[in-house]
């Protein structure tokens, strides 16, 4: 007769042969757990990680692809194969990679570079674009580590001087913490950054999912399951208004799928009606350039990783609106950031690494801007980058053939 817990334990012991009663038994359970995780990777198959169709659709140049995965996908980036038939460029950047020209001519600087420089060293150029829209300096570092792991022939990093040393906006892609945790662990100088940004879960899963496909592919599996659940759910996604006439303000609110959309429209964080120079200055003043900040460590680690990789690398500060730059206060604030970048870069010199610490605004003819940070004509920028990157490659290896094609750049 069962009267106490001991009686229950006795019955379970009798039927389960005493499983779990000794450390050795618990160890065997653990072994089966690991075996089960491996087997799950063979049993459940996830579809190949999708790229970013919304951006890829705008890239008309061959051999250019956006390798960034969904913002929530812990894999971070698509698997990049090391195809020796191509000269592979990993081009990293946030939204400043975009060229948002008028009349809906929307392209990317790396794609226009590929059009201008179709061949390097006798091989066709292939650009893997690590486009982390809205990315901040820690996202840039995580992306650089992922790109180095892909062993490209050249790494180009586009960084926005407005955010390089901005201690109030350090990260907006926390999903990259897991993907880059194993690489950061291998660099002791990055351990304080791991402790600051990554959770214990990021590190544990970052290490585990390298060998366990069932864990690594979990975002795709979750999407598969969610798609099936959505089909049987009585709740349906709202359809966007398709009327040819402009929808009313109320209809626009109705079409929003997130409450955040409403607040971003009706309670914007900064006043979009302020002059560009005023908004630019407010952002520039958020930078901490007196040394010892967390941004200094991130930038130092980023440049250190590029230098130690021995992969030819070109780091540059993206363009700044010339209209805003004509304001002396903006000019001085930007110069402070540039000088600080120069000081950090001097501690991480390597023959393979070029750090263009001055903003492109100082080096290329003024280009029109679509808004506070996005260029509307990348022609002069692409021409400048093609020239300087080819010169760097020629300096590293004089036999490398790399020259901008006539008419390739706009």
């Amino acid at each position: 007769m069962i009267r106490t817990v001991k009686d229950v334990t006795a019955v379970l012991d009798r039927r389960a042969g005493g499983a779990g009663r000794s450390p050795l038994s618990l160890l065997r359970v653990g072994v089966w757990l690991v075996v089960g995780l491996f087997v799950a990777g063979f049993v459940v198959h996830a579809p190949r990680a999708p790229g970013s169709p919304q951006y890829q659709a705008h890239i008309k140049v061959p051999n250019v692809r956006d390798v960034t995965l969904d913002h929530n996908d812990p894999r971070g980036f698509m698997h990049v194969d090391q195809d020796p038939r191509y000269f592979r460029i990993a081009w990293i950047g946030a939204s400043t990679l975009q060229n948002i020209a008028k009349h809906k001519h929307y392209t990317f600087v790396p794609a226009d570079f590929r059009a201008a420089v179709p061949e390097i060293g006798g091989k066709p150029v292939r650009v893997d674009m690590y486009f982390v829209s809205g990315g901040r300096i820690q996202d840039m570092y995580n992306t650089v580590l992922a790109a180095i792991h892909g062993k490209p022939n050249l790494i180009v990093v586009d960084d926005n001087p407005l955010y390089a040393f901005n201690t109030l906006a350090l990260q907006s892609w926390p999903s990259l913490n897991e993907a880059s945790a194993p690489y950061e662990l291998a660099r002791p100088g990055s351990w304080p950054l791991l402790a600051s940004f990554a959770t214990p879960e990021d590190i544990a899963l970052g290490l585990a999912d390298r060998r366990l496909p069932a864990l690594r592919e979990r975002w795709s599996l979750a999407k598969q399951i969610n798609d099936k659940l959505d089909n049987i759910s009585p709740l349906k996604q709202p359809t966007q208004p398709t009327a040819t006439t402009k929808p009313s303000a109320l209809q626009q609110i109705q079409a929003e799928s997130e409450a955040l959309d409403f607040w971003l429209t009706y309670r914007p964080i900064d006043n979009p009606h302020d002059p560009v120079a005023k908004r630019q200055l407010a952002l520039l003043h958020e930078s901490q350039i007196d040394g010892g900040s967390v941004t200094d460590r991130i930038v130092a680690q980023l440049l250190g990783a590029l230098a130690e990789s021995r992969i030819p690398s070109y780091f540059y500060f993206s363009d700044v609106d010339p209209q805003a730059l004509s304001n002396p206060e903006v000019n001085n604030a930007l110069a402070g950031i540039e000088n600080h970048m120069r000081q950090v870069a001097e501690r991480h010199r390597a023959p393979t690494l070029t750090v263009q610490w001055q903003s492109l605004a100082r080096l290329v003819p003024p280009v029109p801007f679509n808004d506070i940070v996005h260029i509307a004509d990348d022609g002069p920028i692409v021409a400048y980058l093609a020239r300087t990157i080819c010169a760097q490659l020629a300096r590293l290896n004089p036999t490398t053939t790399c020259s901008p094609s006539a008419g390739g750049s706009q």
Partner: protein, 40 residues
């Protein structure tokens, strides 16, 4: 002998069930809600 078999079978069952639960929990914890970009 039978008791030993029962023990091993139970251990394997618990281990594999735990593995299935771990995978299920991690799959369920990943968000697939579309990202809404709040800045530039």
């Amino acid at each position: 002998m039978m008791q030993l078999l029962a023990r091993y079978a139970t251990e394997a069952f618990i281990g594999l069930a735990l593995a299935a639960l771990v995978v299920l929990a991690l799959v369920a914890s990943v968000s697939v809600v579309p990202f809404i970009y709040a800045g530039f």
